[in-house]
């Protein structure tokens, strides 16, 4: 498209529609949380838990991944996996291919491991909107905006076929050392025992083949072509206070006791960043990151839910009572300081992935 003014307008309108769609989904998810958090009697709670456990057990034994996905979908795909969902095994894996693509057909991520695991995720095409919901045609998708993390299994032959397809594009004649997929249109592949990367627009054929490997890989390339949800073994929990940054010990003291005890026992990595309103000096904010097993992450969210913290799934945010800070712009007046907690899934090669980040 050569008219950049119109092109940018289309991008902004699509982003606005996605943003409004996220707001709708967030409100829906919040409504669900509110419904869930209404006081229930002990007897009723036990009944709900028993029925849920029964439903899940039935699902796992009769229909496997499809029902697990349904359970996850019901909670929003950014939630933790349901109790009973088996984590993907083995816990760690050696990365052979990794890509992050973004074009008019939507966004796509993929990770292929030496053990044959093919983990993919796709996001809604730019053209999808509330008025055009049919544009995102992924039957296994968690919702209209994201497929969530999905897993299939390749044979060693399948891994090599996929790797060769990428290398044969010629893109890797000039490559650079591998790194995080922090920009769009990046592909990394293992060549001679070394993971290397290129940042380029994907050729049409490669894009089509990565989007739908089942359409061209032979039957012998698949150990299990059936798509199921990728269930992480570990999550990264991150927490911070803003706009006024707080020490880790102070934030933990504001969390429910069981969750705080669990997090105190974990090592935490400190991350420094800035937040703020455009046009005003940024506020420095310090965040803390720890690694939790999925079971521990679930226990932490359970403690949050039991304490009635606003949020749910993989994100919580609450105001600290009695605080008053003055973020820019000044005309907005003082606000309460806020603690935000989030959970991000780990992939087998030890990196986290934020699908919501595009």
């Amino acid at each position: 498209m050569s008219d950049p003014v119109s092109h940018l307008k289309q991008e902004l309108l699509a982003a606005a529609e996605r943003q409004q769609g996220d707001t709708v989904l967030a409100s829906k998810s919040r409504r669900r949380w509110l419904e869930r958090s209404r006081p229930v009697s002990g007897r009723r709670r036990r009944l709900v838990v028993m029925l849920a456990a029964f439903a899940l057990a039935t699902a796992v034994t009769t229909a496997g991944w499809a029902i697990v996905r349904e359970v996850v979908l019901d909670e929003g795909f950014r939630s933790l996996p349901p109790v009973g969902a088996t984590p993907s095994a083995p816990e760690s894996g050696e990365l052979v291919i990794q890509y992050r693509d973004l074009d008019h057909a939507g966004s796509g991520w993929g990770w292929v491991y030496a053990d044959g695991r093919l983990i993919t995720a796709s996001g809604a095409p730019q053209a999808v909107s509330a008025s055009r919901p049919a544009g995102f045609d992924v039957p296994e998708a968690a919702n209209r905006w994201s497929s969530g993390l999905l897993e299939q299994r390749l044979t060693p032959e399948g891994v090599e076929l996929l790797r060769s397809e990428i290398v044969s594009t010629g893109l890797f004649e000039h490559h650079e050392p591998a790194g995080r997929l922090d920009i769009h249109n990046v592909i990394q592949v293992r060549i001679d025992d070394r993971l290397v990367r290129v940042n380029a627009n994907f050729p049409k054929r490669l894009r089509e083949r990565l989007t739908n490997p089942a359409s061209w890989l032979p039957a012998s390339a698949w150990a299990n072509r059936r798509i199921r949800a990728y269930v992480p073994s570990r999550y990264e929990i991150w927490y911070r206070a803003q706009p006024q940054t707080l020490e880790r010990s102070r934030i933990l003291s504001l969390l429910p006791e069981t969750a705080a005890d669990m997090l105190r026992a974990k090592d935490a990595v400190i991350a420094h960043g800035d937040i703020g309103t455009p046009g005003f000096p940024p506020h420095p904010v310090t965040g803390y990151h720890s690694v939790l097993t999925t079971k521990e992450a679930r226990a932490v969210t359970q403690a949050f839910d039991d304490a009635g913290l606003p949020g749910g799934g993989t994100g919580y945010s609450f105001e600290i009572p009695g605080t008053s800070v003055d973020p820019a712009p000044p005309e907005k007046g003082p606000v309460r300081n806020v603690v935000t907690v989030g959970f991000t899934p780990y992939l087998p090669h030890g990196e986290t992935v934020c699908l919501a980040c595009g």
């Binding site: 008219d3 940018l8 307008k9 991008e11 409004q20 707001t23 008019h104 455009p278 046009g279 005309e331």
Partner: protein, 184 residues
């Protein structure tokens, strides 16, 4: 003219919280002046376009927090633009955080696209010139655009050279004030 096009900037930004169309109108209304703002400050149209795109993406991401105040929404938009520009200067690169956060695609600019951008940026500057009093605009055009001397212009208009100098000087001062108001 659609209903959205008749609405004020404040109405558009408030409407943009629940619908995409008002933001599109707001974008079309202010794109040329934001592009021209950056074009006056950076070396090329590509950089100006990237900064403009990042500014509107930042505005879209913040639209839910926009509150009408004594300053016009245009000032709010240019505050974002100034912030993006100072960020770019500080880091020696044009950030794309806002566009990435909104999962917006990179836009490739070919020669035709660059021509469109340059024309749009120039048109915004000409539009600004149109706001001046006619005698000031003509004097600036004659001296700075057509590169004619004060004496020659004064002879044509049958007035003294000092009058032409004053018209140019006052016109430039008025432009300077306008540019400062939009965040220059």
């Amino acid at each position: 003219m659609s209903n959205a096009e008749k609405r004020s900037d404040t109405e558009l930004l408030l409407g943009a919280r629940t619908s995409s169309e008002p933001f599109g109108v707001f974008y079309e209304r202010h794109f040329p002046s934001v592009l021209a703002f950056f074009r006056r400050r950076v070396a090329g149209p590509e950089e100006a376009f990237d900064l403009t795109a990042e500014t509107f993406a930042g505005a879209l991401a913040s639209v839910s927090r926009f509150e009408p105040g004594p300053e016009p929404p245009r000032a709010w938009l240019f505050a974002i633009a100034r912030h993006k520009f100072s960020e770019a200067l500080r880091s020696s690169r044009i950030q794309d955080d806002a566009r990435r956060a909104l999962a917006m695609q990179p836009i490739q600019l070919d020669d035709e696209a660059i021509d469109i951008l340059e024309t749009t940026a120039r048109a915004a500057a000409v539009e600004l010139l149109e706001t001046l009093a006619p005698e000031q605009r003509d004097a600036i055009n004659a001296h700075h655009v057509d590169d004619r001397g004060y004496a020659e212009i004064a002879a044509e208009l049958r007035c003294s050279e000092s009058v032409i100098r004053k018209r140019v000087s006052r016109g430039l001062a008025a432009l300077h004030t306008q540019l400062r108001n939009e965040g220059a």
